[in-house]
Point group: C2
Chain length 458, copies 2
């Protein structure tokens, strides 16, 4: 297998990926349920074309999990490849240069919702497997693809599957390719992911909206109530006001901290090119990498209440809601923090308001032991194709399924071909095509190298 094979197939592959990305498989929006199924069907067809003798859509109360098994290669190791075919909602739509579900190449980048998170990366792994198989005429090792459709919405179909059939996902290594390089030219392997506690805070103060002329000054305003609760959950310097939260955090050890200090990090460029703001905020007594990787955060994702149309309406709103989440680091468990959040909101809620905290989804933080042999194999593939070994970093994001994937004892390799400026969850999400083509070769080499190792005890 060499890179020229990949280069020759680029046009075809771009067409295929474009087809996949054009399906608006937004899992959080019920109106897109049929699109999620279309994306799953698209994968079923492609896995069949890839020569997988077993391809199944595993159904549950939500979007199906796509399960595909490559042909059996006796004596060869088994890799379980996790990914997801669902994508984040594309709004705000008016900020996209080209529509989110009309994939478009500009300056070597493929712009579309899901380009990097995670359809483009799922596709990369499929083509890496195809490339190895085509090069040698036969698959070098056993692969199992488990591609879910609920990563972005916290559905339970994949969890139910893993719990009901623990044997199905037994493997020698689990590959989760939903991450990014640390920086262009700097491949990365992740030692930890933050967990998540996502909830909606709903406030009602009146049975109906009121005229602010007649009742302004005496009627409790639901937006004002919500605003005070939100302002009370975090102070101006970025400290979350949930008692016990910071005490429970297990800080990174000195070795990890000193590794991070040696990483190239240009704060000015980070602010300007990635964050696109005028200043970095939060607990500024910690470094940026510590704030993003090793500290919990509380963010408000959305807020809505009262009259939000054009023009003016003089209403005292009866209700208002906000969506918030905490990111969790080692030491903070989802269920505990979920309860703490509820208690903190209850304490801030005035007696005359009906305030509810509705948990939407969550997951515990993850730590990975990267001293297992499979990591070294991947590292060599990175060195060979990308010219550099992977750096060991953490991620601020969350992939709630990761702890479950590792339950059977196989090493879980968290890595990916994205770049930090891919704009995941943002308008104009993209994938650099250079990363895709290189990535296909990297993982093809990883499969070949892994097949060449002695099969470990699974």
């Amino acid at each position: 297998m060499d890179q020229t094979m990949v280069a020759r197939a680029q046009d075809r592959m771009l067409r295929e990926l474009t087809e996949f990305l054009a399906i608006p498989s937004v899992s959080t929006l019920p109106s897109h349920a049929a699109d999620c199924r279309r994306a799953a069907e698209w994968l079923r067809t492609e896995f069949t074309r890839l020569g997988c003798p077993v391809v199944t859509l595993i159904e549950g109360k939500g979007h199906p999990v796509v399960w595909a098994e490559g042909p059996e290669v006796a004596g060869a190791p088994t890799v379980l490849i996790y990914g997801h075919y669902d994508v984040q909602p594309p709004d705000p739509l008016d900020e996209w240069v080209t529509p989110p579900f009309e994939p478009t190449v500009r300056e070597g980048r493929l712009y579309a919702r899901g380009a990097a998170d995670d359809k483009g990366q799922v596709y990369c792994l499929m083509k890496a497997y195809e490339a190895v198989r085509d090069a040698s005429g036969m698959p070098p090792l056993n692969v199992r693809f488990i591609i879910e459709g609920e990563e972005e919405c916290g559905g339970s179909v994949i969890y139910d599957l893993l719990r009901a059939e623990p044997g199905r996902t037994r493997a020698d290594a689990v590959l989760v390719c939903d991450m990014s390089y640390y920086a262009p030219g700097w491949p990365a392997v992740y030692t930890a992911l933050r967990g998540m506690c996502y909830a909606e805070i709903a406030v009602r103060t009146l049975e109906r909206d009121l005229h602010s002329g007649s009742y302004g000054g005496v009627a409790p305003n639901a937006i004002e109530t919500l605003v005070r609760i939100l302002a009370g959950l975090k102070d101006e310097r970025g400290e979350i006001r949930i008692p016990g939260l910071y005490d429970a955090v297990e800080p990174p050890d000195d070795a990890e901290l000193s590794t991070w200090k040696r990483l190239p990090f240009d704060e000015a460029a980070f602010l300007e090119e990635e964050v696109t703001g005028k200043a970095l905020t939060g607990l500024t007594r910690y470094s940026v990498l510590e704030r993003v990787w090793a500290l919990p955060t509380l963010e408000i994702h959305g807020i809505r209440g009262g009259f939000t149309g054009e023009g003016a309406k003089t209403v005292i709103p009866a209700q208002a809601t906000a969506k918030v989440s905490l990111r969790l680091v080692p030491g903070l468990e989802y269920q505990t923090v979920s309860r703490w959040l509820e208690e903190a909101v209850a304490k801030l809620a005035p007696s005359w308001a009906d305030v509810r905290v509705i948990p939407l989804h969550g997951g515990d933080p993850v730590q990975v032991d990267v001293r297992r042999p499979a990591f070294e194999v991947l590292d060599e593939a990175f060195l060979e194709v990308a010219g550099r070994r992977a750096v060991l970093v953490r991620a601020g994001g969350s992939i709630p399924i990761v702890p479950e994937l590792g339950l059977a004892g196989a090493p879980v390799i968290l890595t990916g071909i994205g770049l930090p400026d891919d704009g995941l969850h943002s308008p104009n999400e993209k994938l650099d095509l250079h990363q895709l083509w290189t990535g296909i070769t990297i993982f093809a080499r990883f499969f070949e190298r892994l097949a060449a190792t002695a099969r470990p005890q699974g």
Copy 2:
């Protein structure tokens, strides 16, 4: 003219009013511009049928003003009748028992957007004039109707008209029938209206939305920034944090305060039936009537930012906006308060956020001298038909055009046939039909009695 005439015509009148209310003339929404025109055209037709020799739609940069003049009655006084045919937006739609623009009678009440504010009241005045004319075979006095289409959106067409042609609206009395009884059985005349300062606060902290996993804890969140600004504009006890605001307020005099103390006021019923909340909030060291009538207020009418769809999206929002207004009492001028609001927001805005205050509309507060003879004439009509003289109250609401209508020196009578629980600006707005039928007779008697007085100097 007696009440049996009105009673005989009720079915026809209900049909006519239903037709008027069914037109969704929402002036703040550009998508309803054609409906506003339809409502104006409906009035044009009706005024023509009423025998007005002059009926004009006066055009400007917005929705037209409907102008109608009754036949000239030499030597008789002239009444200028102000009203508006535009209505508030009907949302939240799902809280309406029957659709806002499908007028429906339930238990003697007519439910529709605009039933009380103000189409039903405009219609009441038209029918009062019709009743008097039909009873005596000829109009008893001179009427001028000036019915605008921008009361709810702060348009300028009527202002431009009043300034361009001050002679047109010269009258012996101005009747603004856009208010309500103090309570069922208690007709009211208003001595003051609050003014208004309505603005949008728009915050941007980033060029684009970001993934809260990758950037949570370091990227400035636009909703969080907006929430802190809003929380900072008013303290928890309801005190507005704009320096100088309360110092500038001219408090009501002792006579007025003692009148208010004697008014029947059942705070528990007010809370339960009108406010529909669990407690009254605001500056509780003042009475409810003082808070609503004699103190400025700051209310948040709407807020929007980030992801507000169903489910979960883990985004750090780049922008957020809120709509707010201050109600202004004597001593507080719109332009001054607008500047103060801008300064207060600027002071609360962090340096790294782009925060703008966009004034949407406003008007100064109003005080009315109710010792002029026309008030006594109306009072006798109330006593005769409703069985009680009008109580002198204030209103918390605003009708920005009122000061302009009084500029030529005629007394401006602020009154109306609504009831406090009509639900203006709320779902399930209604007009009690008893109030409508009685109201037609009251104003018919007012016209007859006014015609019988010696014509004052106009």
